[in-house]
Assembly symmetry: C2
Homo-oligomer: 162 residues x 2
DNA sequence: AATTTCTCGACTTTAAAAGTCGACAAGCAA
DNA sequence: TTGCTTGTCGACTTTTAAAGTCGAGAAATT
């Protein structure tokens, strides 16, 4: 129904999230992130390397090396990550109407373009409204919830918190 | 950035849209729809055949055969089409947290699940709020606009109308 | 009967995502 | 300065799902 977010993007968000969790502990190694977030290490390598060029994260080599966040989690949105990964190319294009040939009435926006734009905008809004700090806060809440209740009870309040 | 809606789904919407345009003219043949909407004919065959089982469209064989809409365009939403095509399976699953193994904190919703849910919900809302009639109305508006202006002028009011 | 159309399942192709690798460069520590 | 450890980089391979094709058959129509 809703097209799945690419794994690469998910990994990227999770990795940044993990860095946020460990902020202040000095650089975190790829291997640590990979283990904590269950991401294929060699693949994560590629992702982080690319992500570095966004300026969102920094790296250091050698024995005490690793990655670290370059700004506070509250100042990084999921949208920042997504936007960088997919480049400005894929930013605003309508699904059917960008390629001249595949859309019968492509001259000046077809009957569908408004809808595709609204979909894009809707997704973007969520991403841009969600900071890494928000995700961090979610985790804390969930942990507290888990501690308070008997283990393994089915989740009750799902999907409300940002 | 925003994952592209599958072509199959786009084709389906466009096909239903085309049927809506021709409502009242008797059954429309696959070949006609394919030509009008620039969809590979043999592929459209598969799509329409499947879509038929949703009850949204009807078919008739033989010389005067073809497809037709089974309800008024105002009573069909894009969501109806999407929901049927992807089945109830893909309906509500979070990107990373449905498979036990791929998400480190999968027990009762991870820090991310709320966000993925919000994305899903956002997209769904647009789809469910958009009827085929709405799309029809868009087309009429665009046509009128085109007639009123000198040809090939750049689009001005883009992405506002439903 | 002949033609036209949809029907159905199986099949092939294509493209992108996902994942891997080897060699190298930088930093630390003994 | 030698030898670890870590990130860097480009090229490569694998896997997967989407996209598209096909042939034979079944219902209508003339």
């Amino acid at each position: 129904m809703v097209p799945m977010t690419p794994k690469k993007n998910q990994y990227a968000v999770r990795a940044v999230f993990e860095l946020a969790k460990r902020r202040g502990e000095g650089p975190t190694k790829i291997s640590q992130i990979a283990r904590a977030q269950v991401i294929p290490e060699r693949f994560l390598e590629v992702i982080l390397n690319k992500l570095k060029r966004s300026g969102l994260i920094e790296s250091k080599r050698g024995f005490t090396g690793g990655y670290s966040l370059s700004r506070p989690p509250a100042q990084i949105t999921v949208g920042d990550i997504m936007r960088f990964l997919d480049g400005p190319t894929a930013a605003m294009n309508c699904a059917a109407c960008t390629e001249t040939s595949s859309c019968p009435s492509h001259r000046r926006g077809c009957a569908f373009s408004a809808m595709w734009n609204r979909v894009n905008q809707a997704v973007l809004s969520v991403y841009n409204d969600t900071t890494i700090q928000d995700l961090l806060d979610n985790e804390i809440h969930l942990k507290a919830q888990r501690r308070r209740r008997p283990p393994r009870a089915p989740a009750r309040t799902e999907g409300q918190r940002l």
